[in-house]
Symmetry: C2
Subunit: 393 residues, 2 copies
DNA sequence: TTTTTTCATTGACAGCGGAAAAGAACACCC
DNA sequence: GGGTGTTCTTTTCCGCTGTCAATGAAAAAA
């Protein structure tokens, strides 16, 4: 848990206030009447919830009296004042740390990248703290207090305790990140798995707004998946969920380090694609970008590799959709750079493997640059700043 | 929705009362103090919630003052009086209707089977209503009012409207079951998918009690899966979820009627096993029971078919566990009759395909005879009788 | 200008659940 | 056998929350 923040009290104290606040936060400027309808609270309750939030400066009257009804008294729009509070989000990757300073609406104000010389905690933690310090200095320039720090790390993360249980990618075990970062910076800290953090950002501020069931699939160095069911991000009973990277797609496919054969990640991740294109063309390619170039140039065997990757991704999505029946699947990640190459294959494989009404699911892509991952971390900080009563829908 | 029941008011009106009631219902006789601890309500709130429920006769003081503390005042146990209300659960299969009369604790008091001469609504609906009437007569013998009727049907069921959208097995489309049964019997009716209904029963009264994330996998004529995430049964955005029967396990496997290849259902369902054993042995087997007998007798090709089925089931479970990270998977269904033949294969394939901590998931079997499916339907009726505030955990 | 419609606010009020204290029922200890 | 301590249960009181009903406000329509 975050060390009790002396910094600032939570804006929303009662369930109703949280509900109102998160509704306005996600659904843009709204009239009070509209908030009442969406939350099924009484208009009176909305008024009473809004007042203290306005006095605290978290909500402001929006002067654009945009949507006035055809008849009757015009409505006053209410929106969240993003500038009221700042947050820092940090994403740790294998070779760099990405940090962003966002406002309360999770808009990025400053973004920073910092290369890493190693992956071990002894290297990463000081760099991370230095990054936060830098961003705190930046924040001074805005004259607004930083109210939370969110950190996103790949792997098995216990977000209640703020401990990285095991990150295969970083080779970390039981690193008490929240404690370390909290004592070093004095900020309330949230630590979460990177894909879950990105999912939170999409749920509150992105393509998942208003949806109670959706999935976010990330394609890149690995294949990940964040899930929202019943309006809540899924963590699983043991803190791990959405591990679609090791769904076995093809029992005869390449052997994966996880011990299985034909995992999605062994077919469609960047390293796998690079390996396969190398093997298929015999060329000593240096990076997946070159493989991509080759395929774009029309090389048939490279294209074939991408087609297989697309099919694997499509089938993995089909599995998720069959199991959970989400309303939407958002495809994202660096791997999207090659989207034009396998979009067709993804969709075809998805439609074929999705059973029945599952095909009603809306499949969309969303290019999320690396800073977005750090923004996801900030979103988790915002979420915990607002409080425990974070009902969606 | 159920037509407003003149029959009986809902026992629990406030959220706290519901919480107390469902806690006592699922976790057997409890002391008030224990209820307070589990629900994190104050002891005073528990007392105040219990009183009206006792006056209504739903809760009773349990005279076995079993667990008294080592020191201090002995506690009074409180439990649900099952005899206070009766419910009817009906499951419709292809060739028969199974009906049960249960008490408020979902214990079966009477079970009835009724063969069907056809599957079309014109045949099934009158038979279903006749079955309910019979059970209502039985209920008179107990001198207790029947407070709800639950109906379970396989396929795509809209449980809010009580309409069977599409049941491939019965070849039904848009059958307004709740309306028909409600007007014919005068009972409040709930209609739900059969696997979901069974999942509800397990969640409240079975192997899922106290778990916020688990899966129920049914193996038999088809392969189904019910999911509980965050303490709630998953229905998906469009009312369909848990369709693991058409996860594609083997791209080169037998073609399935769904258009895909190598579906679990095409490998491990009873019809698939029968087909494969026939093909492998060349014998004209009449039923899956004979195939089972052959395999039990040691026929190597029959055993091979079962081994493949087990592997498919294990891998499907592995997929679910990778995606959702449940605490437990309950394997059930008629197909369990052959469990000794493929238990090992299921477990091996599961462990191999479950990634990382997913293997921490507890895999168990539970023989649920056909009456249990009807009991599941009754469980949905009980759930809706108790009211909308049915928090689990 | 009056009416109608919708939005927003106010004040009264019911009720829920918590805190604290009292009471109850036992074991233990001298 | 009477304190003492412990735990369970109930009672009383009280704050707080959100609804209800009524009122006021601001515009379009009549």
């Amino acid at each position: 848990m975050c060390p009790a923040p002396l910094h600032e009290t939570v804006p929303a104290t009662t369930p109703a206030a949280s509900l109102v606040f998160t509704t306005v936060l996600s659904h843009g400027p709204l009239t009070r009447a509209e908030v009442a309808r969406r939350t099924s609270l009484s208009p009176a309750a909305v008024t009473k919830a809004v007042r203290p939030l306005m006095e605290g400066g978290y909500l402001v009257e929006d002067l654009d009296e945009g949507a006035r009804p055809a008849i009757g008294r015009p409505a006053n729009l209410v929106r969240v004042d993003g500038g009221r509070a700042l947050f820092i989000g940090v994403k740790v990757t294998g070779d760099e740390i990405i940090g962003v300073l966002t406002d309360l609406c999770c808009r990025i104000r400053v973004a920073r990248h910092m290369p890493l010389t190693g992956r071990e905690p002894a290297v990463v933690l000081p760099a991370l703290i230095a990054m936060v310090q830098e961003l705190l200095v930046e924040a001074d320039g805005f004259g607004v207090r930083v109210c939370g720090l969110g950190i996103a790390v790949s792997g098995d993360v216990d977000r209640l305790d703020g401990v990285v249980r095991y990150s295969p990618f970083l080779d970390w075990r039981d690193v008490p990140l929240a404690d370390v970062a909290g004592t070093a910076t004095g900020l309330p800290v949230t630590v979460d798995n990177d894909v879950r953090a990105l999912t939170v950002a999409e749920q509150w501020f992105g393509a998942g707004v208003g949806l109670s069931d959706f999935a976010l699939v990330t394609v890149g160095a690995g294949i990940g998946c964040g899930l929202v069911v019943h309006g809540r991000v899924v963590s699983g009973a043991h803190g791990v969920a959405g591990e679609i990277g090791h769904l076995s797609i093809d029992p005869l496919g390449p052997r994966c380090h996880c011990g299985n054969q034909g995992c999605v990640e062994g077919i469609a991740s960047d390293p796998a694609i690079l390996r396969e294109v190398r093997a298929a063309t015999g060329r000593p390619l240096a990076s997946v970008a070159e493989a991509l170039e080759l395929a774009r140039g029309g090389d048939p065997s490279a294209r074939e590799v991408y087609a297989r990757a697309g099919e694997a991704i499509g089938r993995a999505i089909g599995s998720v959709v069959n199991v959970l029946g989400p309303e939407r699947v958002i495809i994202s990640g660096e791997g999207l750079a090659a989207y034009d190459l396998f979009a067709e294959d993804i969709r075809t494989a998805f439609v074929r493997s999705a059973f029945g009404t599952a095909a009603r699911c809306d499949l969309m892509t969303r290019p999320l640059p690396f800073e977005e991952w750090a923004r996801g971390a900030a979103a988790t900080a915002i979420q915990s700043f607002i409080g425990p009563h974070t009902y969606q829908d």
